[in-house]
Structures are given as C-alpha cells and as structure tokens.
C-alpha cells in the first residue's frame, strides 16, 4: 500500500519533465519562427528596392489645399470645399475623413503653410506595434493598412506623429491614414497630392534623390532655408521630408522625437523573451527537483537511518 504512491511519484516526475521538454520544444519552435529577423530569410538574391518619398518645400506652399481635395477624391472620402479659408483659423489634425490637412502658422518670417499626413517612417512604430501585420511597410516605402486588423489601436500610441486614426463611430471600423497612394503607385502613377500641387511644393521620388534635391535647394539659397531637412534623421528617417525657412518648432513639428527608430525602444524587451523562456523553465525544473523530498533515495538506498 505504501510503496505504490512512491512509484507513481517517480513516474510522474518523468512525465512532468517530459511535458516540460515537449512544451519547451513547442515554444522554442514557435519562438524560432518569431524571432529570426526577416533579413536572414533568404531574400538576399532580390535586388534592394529604394524607398520612395515626398519632399515638401514649405517655402513654396501657398495654402491652396488642392492636395486635400485630390487626396479626398483619390481615397473616396468627402471632398472638402477648398475655397473656404476659415479652416486656417484653428490648427487642424488629420482625421478619419481627411488624410492630409494644410495648416497656417504665423512665424518669425511671416505666414507659412504646412501640409501634414503620415510620415511613412523608414522603421515605423505602427508596423512594429501591429500584431497581425495589418500595418505594413511596403518594399518601396509606403506604410499601408489592411483589413485583417483587429482594431486594438496599439499603432496609435506607438506612432510618434499620431497619424493612425480610428473610425470610432463605425461598427466595422478602419484605421485611416495616408498610404502614399499605394494603389496609384502600383499603377505607375504619382500620389494624388503631388499631381495636384500647382506650386510644385511637393516632389515625389526616391528618398535618396529627394535628400539630394533638398540639400541642393538649401545650398543654393541659404537665405531661403534653414539647414535642416525634417525627416532625414528624425525617428530614423521618414519618407516625407520637409524643408523650411523657419525652425521646425515654429511650424508645428515635434522637434523632441530624437533620431532613434521607434521599434528600437521595444527591441531590448523582445530580445529578452527567448532567453527567459529557455532559462526560466530550466531553473524552475532544477529548483523543483532539488526541493523534492528524498523518498526516492530512501527507496533506492534502503533505510537511511
């Protein structure tokens, strides 16, 4: 009667150990898939695609809002009345129906108009945040949203520019933001806002060339511009680039965001995950074994006392 439980006990210990190993194995495989960075996954033979972007020259913008109109048309959203200049009285944010807005700022060098929209970061926080890859950084640069989204809205606090907007009033809500006219790009067209701009304040092209262009404009007319391209280094670089005649904090930009890409902030935590998942169970199994009462020893070695 007394012996039986002990046998079960040892067998159970092995079972537990086996269960732990199998569980650990499953977790390990899953995590292997999870934590092997994409760059190791055999895509090296494909030639790299350059990011495209848009250069906004705020010294050229006259606040005509043609871009807002074209944007709304391209995205099938309510088209704003662009002759109405009263909208400039208050600073506006983009919204679920306005993916880009132009604001007017009174600065030390007079009126400046600035277009805002998703910045299409090189390493976007929203993409790193998304647990179903509904937010995606496309190979050529645009950051787009898709319908497998859960609506968790984690992209919203993770965006340094707070661009993802959520349709709270809908029972089938979407995240709305500029997609750099992803559909138009696929068809070989330029983004709607760029096409609509009558003042050539917007330039579309490969990001590398846009930076060259911006630098040459700054170099050729040093009095017209401050020597800073907003978006060249901010949060690791953005697809949208801005040049201006006044410091950027005067025209509504956050200048305190730093140059570290946002996904870097949670990287350290994510790197610790496989370590914890491997070492913690091993440690716990060890402790569990060490604290085991010695009835096994008693049985093997006969009487100990």
């Amino acid at each position: 009667m007394r012996r039986r439980p002990m046998g079960i006990n040892r067998r159970n210990f092995l079972k537990v150990l086996g269960g732990g190993i199998v569980g650990g194995g499953i977790a390990g495989t899953a995590l292997g898939n999870i934590f092997i960075p994409k760059r190791f996954k055999a895509e090296a033979s494909v030639p790299p695609v350059e990011f495209v972007g848009i250069l906004v020259d705020t010294t050229r913008c006259v606040g005509c809002r043609s871009c807002e109109e074209a944007c709304a048309q391209a995205n099938h959203l309510p088209v704003p009345d662009i002759s109405d200049t009263s909208v400039f009285e208050k600073r506006r944010q983009t919204s679920v129906t306005q993916l880009t807005v132009v604001n007017r700022y009174q600065t030390s060098k007079g009126e400046v108009f600035v277009k805002t929209q998703c910045m299409h970061c090189n390493q976007p926080g929203c993409v790193a945040a998304c647990l179903v890859k509904a937010m995606e950084k496309r190979k050529n640069g645009p950051v787009t949203w898709e319908r497998n989204c859960m609506g968790c809205r984690y992209c919203m606090p993770s965006c340094p520019f707070e661009m993802p907007k959520f349709e709270y009033e809908s029972s089938n809500p979407r995240i709305q933001k500029c997609s750099l006219c992803w559909e138009r790009l696929k068809a070989g067209e330029v983004p709607a806002c760029v096409e609509a701009c009558p003042e050539k304040a917007l330039t579309f092209g490969p990001r590398r060339k846009l930076i060259e262009e911006a630098n040459s404009r700054i170099y050729n007319s040093p009095r017209e511009y401050i020597t800073h391209i907003y978006g060249e280094h901010e949060v690791g670089g953005t697809g949208y680039l801005y040049i201006s005649k006044v410091p950027f904090d005067q025209i509504g930009f956050r200048t305190d965001l730093g140059t570290i890409p946002y996904p870097e902030y949670s990287k350290g935590f994510l790197y610790s995950v496989p370590l914890v998942l491997l070492l913690w169970p091993a440690f716990l199994i060890g402790v569990n074994t060490l604290t085991k009462p010695d009835e096994d020893k008693i049985r093997k070695g006969g009487a100990r006392r």
Binding site: V16, I34, L131, M150, E162, F166, E167, S170, L257, P281
Partner: protein, 430 residues
Amino acid sequence: MKAASATTEIKNLRDLVAFIQSELKPKGKIYTPFNVITLPIILLGFVLIVYRLVKGLGSVTNLSQEFPWGIWIGFDVMVGVAFAGGAYILTFVVYILRTEKYHPVVRATVLNGFLAYVFYAGAILLDLGRWWNIVNPIIGNKFGVNSVLFLVSWHFLLYMISLFIEFSPTIAEWLGFKRVRKILGSLTVGAVIFGIALSTLHQSGLGALFLMAKDKIHPLWYTQFIPVLFFTSSIFAGLSMVIFEGSISHKVFSHQIDDRHHESFRQIVIGLGKACAGALFVYFFMKVLIFIHDQHWALLATPMGYWYLVEVFGLVLLPCFLFLWGVRYENIGVIRVAAILSMLGIIINRLNISVIAYKWYVPWSQRYFPSWMEIVITMAIILTEVWVFRWIVNRMPVIQESPEWAREDHRVEEGVMTGKEVPQWKASAM
C-alpha cells in the same frame, strides 16, 4: 465540510448530466443584498455590451484619436492581470519551493487568476474595434512577430490554458473522476513551470507595450525599465489580492472552513504580508534608482511631480511600512489595510501610465474621462467574475477540503510532505 461529489459516484454520461443539472441550481438564498444590488448592474452591463458590439466603440466610450486606450485597457486589462499575478507566485511557492504552508490558498488563487484572465483579458474583446478578427494572431492571418502585443496575446492564451490545467484536478474531484484526477494532477507541475515563465514575460510585456509611447508618457513615468517595474509590481499586486480576496472569502465561505484552517490562514496572511513588504521595498528602490538615474529633479515641483510623489510614497512606501508593522505585531487588520493601499497603488500606477500621465500636456477639456457606460460595463465584468467565482467555490473543493480519496494522491504526486507524513513514509521504507 465535504465536497458534494463524494456523495454519489458518476458512472455514465447520464449521471454526469444529471449531476451538473443539479449543481447548476442556485444554492442558498437568492434575494441577498449582494445579489439584489449586483444583478441589475450586470444586466445593464450586458445590454451595453450588445449595444457597443452593434454600434461601434464611439457609441459607448469616450475614446478619441488623442486617447485611443481608456479604462478597458488601463484598468480592466492592466490592473486585472497584475492582480491575477498571485497565481504564478503562489504556484511557485507551493509547487516549486514546496512551501506547504500556503497550500490552503493556492486553489482559490489559481481559480481567481484563471477567472481574472478569462474576464479581464476577455474584456479586450470589447475594446477591439474589429473584434471578430481576434483569432488572427493565433491562426496566422499574419503573425506580427515583432509586436509586443503579439507576445502578450499568445501568452494570455497559453497562460489561460496553463491555469486551467492547474485548476482542473479540482473539477475532477468535484465530478468524482478519480482516474482523470490522477492524470490531470500529474500535469500540474509542468503547467506551473510553463505558467511562471509565461507570467514573467507577459506581466512585463504589458509594460513593454508602452515603450513606444516614449514621447507621450510623462518623463517621471516613462523609463526603459517599465517592463521590470510591471513585473516587480505584479508580485505584490498579486499577493495583496490574495490577502484581500482571501479575507473576504474566509468571511463569506466561513462555513466551509474548520477552525484549524482559520488559524493557518492567519499565519498565511502574515507570511504573505512579509513577502509583500519585501517586493514593495524592491519596487520602491527601483523607482528611486530610475528617478535618480533619469535626473528629473526639476519635474518634482510640478503638479505631475506631486502626483508622482503621492504614488511613490503614499502608495508604495507607506503600504510597505504598514506590511512590516502588521507582520511585526501580527496585526492582521493592518496587513489588510496595507494590502488595500498597495492595490490602490497598482490601480493608480497602471492608470497613470495608460491614461493620466499619458499625454499629460493635453488640456483638461480634451482629456479622456471614462463615460458612465464604460464604468458600468467594467463593473458588470467584475461582478460577473465574482458570481462565477462564488458559484464554483460553493460547489468545488476550492476552499473546502478535497474529498478523502483525492487527498492521498494529492500529497504524493506533488511530492509535498507535511510534518506528520515524514516519519510515516520513512517508517514504511524501512
């Protein structure tokens, strides 16, 4: 004092159905003050939940583009999961360290943890704008493997399963399934080990969610060590919850417990109080280190700075001292007060990071305040959990003792030895 199951044996499916049918009926009085007050709230809450699912988030919540996360995340999930931390700590103490003293409270704590995950993590479903897509990260309608939330969602799922396995022997005892009980019991230690690893990661993972909100959270609260702070605070949050919940349970379910266990519960509370004091002090120490390291002295003399001091001194250091005091003088009352204070501290801390110190620069008029409907739904979820908890405790051997047949295996398979057992076992080996 015996579990109901001990009376009849279930031999076939018909018996099982009949048994469950008989158990589904309410036990005890129906028109108690608690029931009369809580039932309308629960019903109203469920009406609002349906309304929210049909009409969208904006119809019920005060969430905005500025404040995408409200109390359903900041309170239900962040606080609920921290309070459920007691399960992984107590299972560690009882099944890994084999400290038999805490065995009497482990089942109630595991049950509480399991229900907390089901209900509060389940509350995420309401907060998801596109809730029908909740299975996507699980079925692989794209694995967003770089996301902290991906990790948290998988861990929630796996941990719920672990907790269920840890609790399942109780269900088997209730149904009188001896063989099944044995098999399930043998899985416990494995589930515990897996569960502790998962808990470590998702308790800290909930904090890591805010790492990318660097520019939005007040510098006194934002630190790269948020995950470590969340993990450490989940220790005393969970244990304080065990003290709090245990104290209430021991009053409400007093008839299920004999005198010997009443006295052992006193000692358990004192032991837990000691652990809480330790964890609180470690947490306080880390807070101070981070504060000094970040050099935010100037920020203390601002309204947010005062609020920070209230949190750190009033709701971390003060309960730490109260716990010590209560342990030193074996004063259960003081320990309970300390537990409530430290729980309040957790609520304030999680809400600070997710709501209050989140975009502290936004003027009052545009700030987020929960709507009455958000609060009612939250209350309905908590109360439903309490109802389910009560239903289970009244039927299964959670607080009351296991049936006689289960007790023997119990000790043996967990390798746990009480003082009495040792000489018996050793004698038998000789």
